[in-house]
């Protein structure tokens, strides 16, 4: 081989780097698919009281952990070896942040499965079952939109997730109200009520993670984060407050 060809050209380095970015995006989408699959799976486990399926879901969390660590390490490698700038840098940082949001969402569905084990044998009121089912569908829908916006780099779609999350929040409130009603009618005891409320909270938190993913996608595309508005306000206030504090 020619000695010159032992070192890749700059163009080859860029091509390889962009292939690596594509692979990173594909793996993040796969991680998201694993998480979104767990939402209807966990809901079914909860509503059918299927103990063996609950155990499978809990065990399957290890696979999610393995892939999230892999993605995270590849992000670090890309940051260290390629020293990316601008949009490329934001794409890697976004993948890194998404990994933790997704991994946490997977953990929440594990919590749902564990919650089912604590509730095992309880005849859940049909109204609560219906609301659990709707919260599950809504949480999954939010995750789908969040991942679509990431895969397509669509900032407008990502911006819509925050508003869409209001529906899940409303369902969550209805659900908590229904738990109170069931408890008042003595169809569930306090312990079961608390356990069911926690399960509702897990779905609501998945919605929040989807909103976070949306915000990170907006950052990836535009370089802007909602926190930047608050930071700008704080910066605007700073000289004035410093002036009052230090009259000299």
């Amino acid at each position: 081989m020619n000695a010159d060809r032992e070192h890749p050209t700059m163009a080859e380095i860029r091509t390889n780097f962009h292939a690596e970015l594509d692979a990173l995006r594909a793996d993040t989408v796969r991680l998201a698919a694993m998480v979104t699959e767990r939402i209807p799976w966990g809901t079914e486990v909860l509503l059918t009281g299927n103990l063996s399926s609950a155990q499978e879901l809990i065990d399957a969390d290890d696979d999610l952990d393995v892939l999230s660590i892999e993605v995270e390490e590849r992000c670090y490698q890309a940051l260290v070896l390629q020293a990316p700038m601008a949009r490329d840098l934001r794409a890697i940082v976004t993948a890194l942040r998404l990994t933790s949001e997704l991994e946490r969402s997977g953990d929440l569905m594990v919590n749902v499965a564990k919650g089912m084990r604590r509730l095992y044998g309880l005849d859940i009121d049909p109204k609560l079952r219906g609301l659990i089912s709707r919260m599950g569908e809504e949480a999954q829908r939010l995750m789908h939109v969040a991942i679509d916006s990431y895969a397509e780099g669509d900032a407008a779609k990502a911006a819509a997730i925050d508003d869409m999350d209001d529906r899940l929040d409303t369902l969550h409130k209805e659900y908590i109200q229904a738990i109170f009603e069931c408890h008042r009618e003595s169809s569930i005891d306090l312990e079961a009520g608390v356990q069911l409320a926690l399960i509702g909270r897990y779905y609501e938190r998945i919605g929040d993670h989807a909103v976070n993913i949306g915000e990170r996608v907006r950052y990836m595309v535009t370089g802007w984060l909602p926190e930047h508005t608050g930071a700008a306000r704080a910066a605007a206030r700073k000289p004035q407050s410093e002036g009052i504090a230090d009259p000299t």
């Binding site: 796969r30 998201a32 079914e44 089912s133």
Partner: protein
């Protein structure tokens, strides 16, 4: 191909001209001419064979692209050399289908190492699907078997991806039907036997009276089941019903009248949104009344006392839709696709309390199919259900 053949001939002409120049003064060699001509003909034949093979390959690829299964071919190193359209769709998929591609890669890797494997991937979706992946090593007939008798290393791998959801659903229907029919018939018959045995050794008139009442209830239950089975079999086996215009308001009125006593017993109010009198469907009035009455009966059974069951109808000119809605306990989403199966019970314990044979919705489905219509259900637990019959308008 033609251009390449012309190229060869041109080169041969150049070669002949050079040979002629070198041997100027002597007669041109006919053997060189013959050799050149033979070579050109052989080349043309080879090109024609290659083109024919290319056309066959193109047709094969086109055929593989229209089959519902995904096909993936890999070489000995595990590199994918071909995937048809279905398999290709998994490569850039999102959401649940994105989970298929890593399994394709894993199974291809195993197959090129000589290990055949079949795996079923259950995807929650929605829609819920079962995807079967089958990978096998490919032998190369040209590679001789090693002298020690071991298998030759695979020349590549072949993988088939297939959606087996419908096959699995039909298998579950068949399996559950056999189990359910024996349960529905054996339980009351077994109870009758035991009650009769107890009755034979009983002298207390009060106990005898109670046992006889139980026997009567069990006998009615078997009788109801057999009646429904006969009705179902008549609908299934019978020829297409007469295609007479049947006024929808008469169908609804008859069906509601048939259910009224059961509704009053459970303090459920039957609300009819009166359809226009000129609204008609094509079919058999008796069968249609039976279908709507079955839906009303079901709605009443699964409604709380004081609740409403609403029957309404509408049309878009081509189709008439009859809705039966309730605010009852609803149907879990996992059972929604199966409620029209014979003897399928969402909640076996509750069904026993509410009575019924487990055949009502199967009868509805068959009646509607006989009328070239469709039946659908939308439901949410704790909120209620709406069954919709779509029938051709008269």
């Amino acid at each position: 191909m033609i251009r390449r053949s012309i190229d060869v001939r041109r080169r041969l002409d150049t070669l002949r001209a050079r040979l002629e120049r070198e041997g100027e003064g002597t007669a041109p060699s006919t053997s060189v001419d013959d050799a050149a001509e033979r070579l050109a003909r052989a080349f043309d034949a080879h090109e024609a064979r290659q083109d024919a093979a290319g056309a066959v390959a193109e047709r094969l690829v086109a055929a593989l692209d229209v089959i519902p299964q995904g096909i993936v071919l890999a070489d000995a190193a595990g590199r994918v050399v071909f995937r048809n359209r279905v398999a290709d769709a998994f490569a850039g998929a999102r959401h649940s289908e994105a989970l298929v591609e890593p399994v394709i890669t894993e199974l291809i890797g195993r197959a090129v190492a000589g290990e055949a494997e079949t795996r079923v991937l259950d995807l929650y979706g929605p829609p819920r699907r079962s995807i079967q992946l089958r990978a096998v090593p490919l032998d190369d007939p040209d590679v001789p078997r090693p002298a020690n008798g071991d298998a030759a290393p695979p020349a590549g791998a072949f993988l088939v991806v297939e959606d087996v959801s419908e096959r699995q659903r039909l298998e579950a229907v068949r399996r559950d039907f056999v189990a359910n029919i024996s349960h529905e018939l054996k339980t009351p018959v077994g109870a009758l036997g035991l009650l009769a045995e107890t009755l034979a050794g009983e002298d207390d008139p009060e106990v005898v009276h109670r046992l006889a009442a139980r026997m009567q209830r069990e006998a009615f239950r078997v009788s109801d089941t057999i009646d429904d089975l006969l009705q179902l079999s008549q609908i299934e086996a019978g020829s297409l019903p007469p295609r007479d215009p049947v006024p929808v308001h008469l169908v609804v009125t008859d069906a509601v009248d048939r259910t009224r006593s059961a509704a009053e017993l459970r303090s459920v109010r039957l609300v009819v949104v009166e359809p226009p009198e000129d609204l008609s469907v094509l079919g058999d009035r008796r069968q249609l009344v039976s279908a709507v009455a079955n839906l009303c009966d079901n709605a009443v059974k699964y409604s709380d006392p004081g609740a409403d069951v609403t029957v309404s109808a509408r049309t878009d000119g081509k189709t008439v839709e009859i809705d039966v809605s309730d605010n009852g306990i609803g149907i879990p989403s996992t059972d929604l696709g199966r409620v029209f199966e014979r003897f399928y019970r969402v909640d076996r314990a509750r069904s026993r309390d509410t009575g019924g044979t487990g055949l009502g919705l199967a009868i509805v489905r068959h009646v509607v199919h006989n009328h070239e219509g469709e039946v659908s259900v939308s439901s949410r637990e704790g909120e209620g259900s709406t069954f919709t019959l779509s029938l051709p308008a008269a």
